[in-house]
């Protein structure tokens, strides 16, 4: 076959990193396809993390992670403001609870400075308790990281992906790549619907980035998913803290934190346990109990509030202590693997770096004549949302009809999400775009009307939305034996 390949670049994986790369490349005169195995943008680690906007103060100095976090920080701040991604500059306090932790604060300051972040400063116990009066007893001191904050993990990859699509990137969902073959200066990626040809391939496949890397003949890293369980407490708990409360990090993880969320809740977690499979996102009794015990120590009143939800995400940890960003110019293939636990914060830094690597390898990056900006609907608590916006309601009364009462999501927003550039096609997709059904009643009041609304707006049968149309019904003969 001597026809031109269909695409200049194929990106495998539409999580926050793949979507950021798609957005970056959409600024140039390139034919780009963004390929995602799941049924929506950001269905892997991108939808189940701590939603912290890391400065990178505690990264290992000299690593790619440190460099790209530092690079990405101002880019994401500017982009979030322009695109309307919910973001709050809460600041963070890294709290020391014993003498050993207190003694380690000095080296954390040194590390922070080595990472280029020098606004970090020590805080004495009296100032700490003035700032956080609901903190449990026994804190000895803290570090103030004034620029650390919180961001919406759902809106960020969606904004990147929508901007990419608005600027000509093709999005292919429900398209796992099952194999690749080389043909005449292009890669032929095997998708369910057939083969797609692309001159360059970027592997941003997250938890599956090692498997994709092997499809291209490399075997330099293995993902060992590390699960983090998290507890989301009711909005009525929001008053208990002001800043993100961090723990002294260990080699395995950043430790348990207590943080506000952009939706007005309090987040407690994560745990850190190695799991076998890429869908082992269960919550466990031990994990939740451990978090509650830690939470009670940090904010004693926190466990008295109702839990709104418990979720778990998987970090793409590898045997290496840094990102695996490798470009193979001869192969016209780049791998963005092992992004550990900082993909959201570093996403724009990673995308900028990847563009440089591609340019160095010979891909011509000519800026496109025009570039469309994206404006995401306001869903953060810190912004004026439609239910409280008189002008929006006057323009469209559906913005005054609250359907999800706990999160105050209106009919107008739900219908807009079903009709958006990358529309909500599933109930989960609607949750992430609007906050609907993420509240304290967990659908007691609204799951039926919302299911009916989405079925009608998208033309999808309700049974499909409810995942009732695959496989056979469970039968009585399947009851497993009682354990002896």
């Amino acid at each position: 076959m001597t026809a031109e390949p269909a695409y200049d670049v194929a990106i495998i994986g539409a999580g926050v990193v793949g979507a950021a790369i798609a957005r970056e490349l959409s600024r140039y005169q390139l034919q780009v396809i963004l390929i995602e195995a799941g049924d929506d943008i950001g269905t892997g680690t991108s939808k189940a993390n701590t939603a912290i906007r890391h400065t990178g103060f505690d990264a290992k100095p000299g690593t790619l992670e440190s460099d790209l976090l530092r690079r990405g920080f101002p880019l994401l701040a500017e982009y979030a403001a322009a695109a309307g991604i919910p973001l709050e500059a809460t600041g963070a306090l890294l709290v020391a609870w014993d003498a050993e932790q207190l003694a380690s604060l000095g080296s954390l300051i040194k590390r922070s400075r080595a990472n280029g972040y020098s606004a970090i400063r020590p805080v004495r116990a009296d100032e700490l308790y003035r700032r956080e009066p609901n903190l449990g007893p026994g804190a000895l001191g803290a570090l103030d990281i004034p620029d650390e904050g919180i961001i919406c993990p759902f809106t960020t990859p969606l904004a990147f992906a929508i901007e990419a699509v608005l600027n000509g990137v093709r999005l292919e969902l429900s398209a796992p790549v099952s194999g690749v073959r080389a043909l005449a200066g292009a890669h032929l990626l095997r998708l369910p619907r057939g083969e797609v040809a692309a001159r360059w391939v970027v592997n941003a496949a997250g938890l599956n980035s090692d498997a994709v890397d092997r499809m291209f003949g490399h075997d330099t890293f293995t993902i060992t998913p590390r699960r983090g369980q998290l507890i989301v407490f009711d909005k009525l708990a929001r008053r208990l803290i002001t800043s993100v409360l961090l723990s002294v990090p260990t080699a395995r993880s950043k430790g348990v934190l207590v943080a506000p969320t952009v939706f007005g809740n309090i987040l407690l977690g994560p745990t850190a346990e190695d799991v076998g499979g890429r869908s082992d996102t269960q919550s466990t009794a031990d994990g939740v109990d451990a978090l509650l015990a830690k939470g009670r120590q940090i904010i004693p009143e926190l466990p008295d509030e109702e839990v709104t939800c418990v979720y778990a995400g998987l970090r793409a940890a590898t045997e290496h202590a840094d990102y695996r960003i490798v470009c193979h110019p001869d192969q016209r293939y780049a791998c963005i693997g092992g992004i550990r636990s900082t993909g959201l914060s570093a996403s724009m830094g990673i995308a900028a770096r990847l563009a440089e690597l591609l340019a160095d390898a010979g891909l011509k990056l000519r800026p496109a004549a025009e570039h469309h900006q994206v404006h995401m609907p306001p869903i953060g608590e810190a912004s004026l949302r439609p239910y409280g916006d008189e002008r929006a309601i006057q323009r469209n009364p559906a913005y005054g009809q609250v359907i999800c009462h706990c999160e105050r999501v209106t009919r107008g927003e739900i219908l807009a999400a079903a009709a958006a550039v990358i529309p909500a096609r599933t109930i989960d997709g609607l949750r992430r775009r609007t906050r609907a059904m993420l509240g304290r009643c967990q659908g007691f009041y609204c799951s039926a009307p919302i299911t009916a609304m989405i079925a009608e707006a998208t033309g999808t049968p309700a049974a499909h939305l409810l995942h009732l149309d695959g496989g056979k019904a469970p039968g009585p003969g399947d009851v497993a034996e009682r354990a002896k």
């Binding site: 269960q282 709104t308 239910y387 005054g400 009809q401 007691f444 799951s447 019904a473 009851v479 354990a483």
Partner: protein
């Protein structure tokens, strides 16, 4: 933003709110406005298709939807304004609320506010049940809306968690919609509902009931595939395949508005502290219905609303408010007591009774009501059943020492 004025605004057009509106209008109170954030008024009974509604308040028996419609008709006939699709989003002042609706934003100034926002069942997440988070996990309220209001598919094979009245109602709804019910599961040693109700639901459909049993895990990728049950007494665990799990009961008041106003909340009921005349700790703000005692039957909620309305009428004429209340405390096995505090005087709660709940099954025994070591009341009972309404007569309220200590309500088992 518009501004409107009313004598009384009521948040919630369920049985309590509507019964209050009717009573207020019959007492010649001026403008009475009832808000409901749902598209239709009537509350939970709108989608609870079984009969048995109306016994104590209307002296009739009817289905939930008919009962809901009847209250709406009566309220409208009495001249109350019912504004549906209207959400109370917060407070502008002690007795002024902000609303949002398709017509825009409005600030409502009133002389009294009645919170009648009811209660909901606690969902799986709040109960901290481990496992995956697939589709197919519901509460009874959501199940009823799926089945009765929106006619949506529900599933094929279900587990019902809980064995109280509402749990058997869930079994009935599931079987009536073609599902098989693989099990009813309760943490308690025995079911907590009427034998007849059990017979016509689980008995009729041969549904096994597992007692002393909890759901240890839910498994399923996109849809529920199975639940793992654990018998806490024997330690045995086993799995049952199913695609639907209905969590029933375990009620919690919808108390957001009270909390954001800074109204004192009772740790037991988790609703606003309301005294025997429905008064909260904020002057001019009353609370009635299942917001204050989750969950009684609809007729009890309606009577609570009617009782609150009489207290509101008195307040509109006299404008006095207690400056202190005497706490009512209950010890094990009692979980909570309503009213959680009392104003000195002769006024009694709705139906002349206190309401309580027990953690555990108890045999013959008696309640003892004590203040400062002085026995005020003794009331024998045959038994106490968890998740069932238990009442205590309140005729002793007049003998409370107004300057005295807390009222203690004890349960004494008779051996």
């Amino acid at each position: 933003m518009e501004t409107e004025h009313a004598e009384v605004v009521i948040v919630g057009a369920g049985p309590a709110g509507l019964a209050a509106a009717i009573e207020l209008r019959r007492s010649r109170v001026g403008r009475v406005v009832v808000f409901d954030r749902e598209g239709t008024a009537g509350g939970i009974p709108r989608h609870t298709r079984h009969t048995g509604y109306g016994m104590r308040d209307m002296h009739r028996v009817m289905t939930g939807p008919a009962y809901a419609r009847r209250y709406v008709e009566l309220a409208q006939a009495a001249g109350a304004e019912i504004r549906t699709g209207t959400t109370v989003t917060g407070w502008a002042s002690p007795t002024a609320v902000c609303t949002t609706s398709a017509a825009g934003l409005t600030e409502w100034h009133a002389h009294a506010v009645l919170l009648a926002t009811g209660c909901r069942e606690r969902p799986r997440a709040a109960r901290l049940v481990p496992g995956d988070r697939p589709a197919g996990i519901l509460t009874t309220g959501a199940l009823q809306q799926f089945a009765e209001l929106h006619r949506l598919p529900i599933g094929h094979r279900a587990i019902v968690v809980g064995a109280e009245h509402v749990s058997y109602s869930a079994v009935h709804t599931l079987t009536a919609h073609g599902l098989s019910v693989a099990a009813v599961v309760t943490e308690h040693p025995r079911p907590q509902s009427y034998a007849l109700l059990q017979a016509i639901t689980v008995g009729r459909h041969r549904v096994p009931v597992f007692t002393d049993t909890e759901v240890a895990e839910i498994t399923g990728l996109r849809r529920v595939e199975r639940v793992t049950l654990l018998n806490r007494r024997t330690g045995q665990s086993w799995a049952i395949n199913c695609d639907t799990v209905v969590f029933t009961g375990d009620w919690i008041p919808d108390n957001e508005l009270a909390r954001i106003r800074g109204i004192q909340i009772d740790r037991g009921t988790r609703g606003p502290c309301a005294d025997q005349l429905a008064r909260t700790t904020q002057q001019g703000v009353f609370a009635a219905g299942n917001l204050t005692h989750a969950a009684e039957t609809a007729d009890v909620a309606a009577l609570s609303g009617r009782h609150a309305a009489r207290a509101i009428s008195r307040y509109l004429r006299a404008s006095t408010w207690p400056d202190r209340w005497i706490p009512v405390r209950c010890g094990k096995p009692l979980r909570w007591i309503y009213p959680p505090h009392l104003a000195a005087g002769d006024d009694v709660p709705p139906r002349g009774r206190l309401i309580t709940r027990t953690h555990d099954f108890c045999g013959r025994g008696q309640f003892e009501v004590v203040q400062d070591g002085r026995l005020l009341h003794r009331e024998p009972k045959h038994r106490l059943i968890p998740n069932r309404s238990i009442t205590i007569r309140a005729r002793w309220l007049g003998s409370i020492g107004p300057g005295g200590g807390p009222i203690e309500v004890h349960w004494a088992n008779r051996m």
